[in-house]
Symmetry: C2
Subunit: 229 residues, 2 copies
């Protein structure tokens, strides 16, 4: 296996204050692995044996209901730690991490968590900042679900994806994240049927273009208006 | 002002591993304050100048929407730290803490947070455990809102309150927490009208009894059945 290069980590906040020799040691302790899209990196309730740094790809943090439905609580972009059960005093993973695209992650045995926190300047601070952001995000989602109509929620979800991963293309802004109608329905806590109906309507009005796993927002301003109705 | 007694803190997880002289020092640095029901202990977006230990009473963590609606993201029982913005790398409070009943809290200037984490054994670990539990709770709520009908959600909310604060009384289990229909509608992300309609129906069927701010669950088993429909 080729040696992992320090440049993989130096720009990521939990590691950005560290010296090169510290990063080297952290990489020597890591395993790296590629994942296909749609697989679980770790599963809710399983023993939390390793923690992960998502280097490439996107991950959906999902909870599985009693009837087997998946509900997406969070979307994780590359450059974030996941599966950090030890950070919140747990021995098992509190949720399942599903890859939303082909992904690459480093991982370390969970017993190293305490060492990283104790030895590496800024590591704990940055990790807990991430945790706080996630708490804020799920709280925002609750507010949205409690107060917004489905149309607003879907418009907001698209705008959020545009902000997080938008890429300018000829006819608008493309969401640079493989997203299906099923994903959107999970994100907005609505049904596949409703999302399909909304997107078809918006497509006819020239607001969006959607193909398999790809959505281009042609008229972001119109979506903003819809999201604030 | 009477001197605060060590027994206020010794049994609470963030402080339970500390020696008496450490608790003494922590109390000497604290301010104590009583709050009426329905007031804000701190407000979303304000500078996070102090962190708090809720000694008595209950607090709702709320987000205020653009149109001024309050949405309850979490309920906090006594014995927990609140307003710990510094723990998640923030300078402002991420949400508003509203007292749901008359409450009593200690507070410390935020700059002491880092000292507490560095000096007091178990303080950080227990605080982050709490944070993790809150993240889990809001995620559960999203799952519920995404997958359950309103009737199930209200039944689940009542059962959760029974588990958390239930007190055996003659005709059933009383929720030992002043809860209004408005609170229940916020908790379950539905309207006051829907909650009133459901509770009236359940009252007629002998499942619950509700008076002003008091709810007695007479038939928990029937609620469990409803919650799993």
């Amino acid at each position: 296996m080729p040696r992992l290069d320090e440049s993989l980590l130096t720009h990521l906040p939990p590691f950005s204050r560290l010296e090169k020799r510290q990063i080297r040691r952290i990489l020597d302790q890591a395993s790296s692995r590629r994942y296909d899209a749609g697989v679980a990196i770790f599963q809710e309730g399983h023993p939390a044996e390793r923690f992960f740094m998502l280097l490439d790809g996107y991950v959906r943090v999902v909870r599985i209901t009693a009837t087997g439905e998946q509900v997406t609580a969070l979307h994780i972009p590359p450059g974030q730690l996941i599966g950090i059960a030890r950070a919140i005093g747990r021995d098992t993973y509190p949720a399942t991490a599903m890859t939303a695209s082909e992904s690459l992650a480093l991982s370390w045995p969970m017993h190293l968590w305490d060492n990283f926190v104790a030895e590496y300047d800024g590591f704990a601070t940055e990790s807990y900042k991430t945790l706080g952001q996630r708490l804020g995000e799920v709280q925002n989602k609750i507010v949205e679900m409690a107060t917004q109509q489905v149309e607003q929620r879907v418009a907001n979800a698209l705008l959020r994806l545009v902000n997080q991963t938008g890429r300018k293309v000829e006819n608008g802004i493309e969401i640079d994240f493989p997203i299906t109608r099923q994903d959107l329905s999970e994100l907005t806590a609505t049904t596949l049927h409703t999302v399909s109906r909304l997107l078809s309507g918006w497509e006819k009005q020239g607001l969006v273009e959607s193909r398999r796993k790809r959505i281009v927002v042609r008229d972001p301003h119109a979506l903003v208006v819809l999201s604030q109705k």
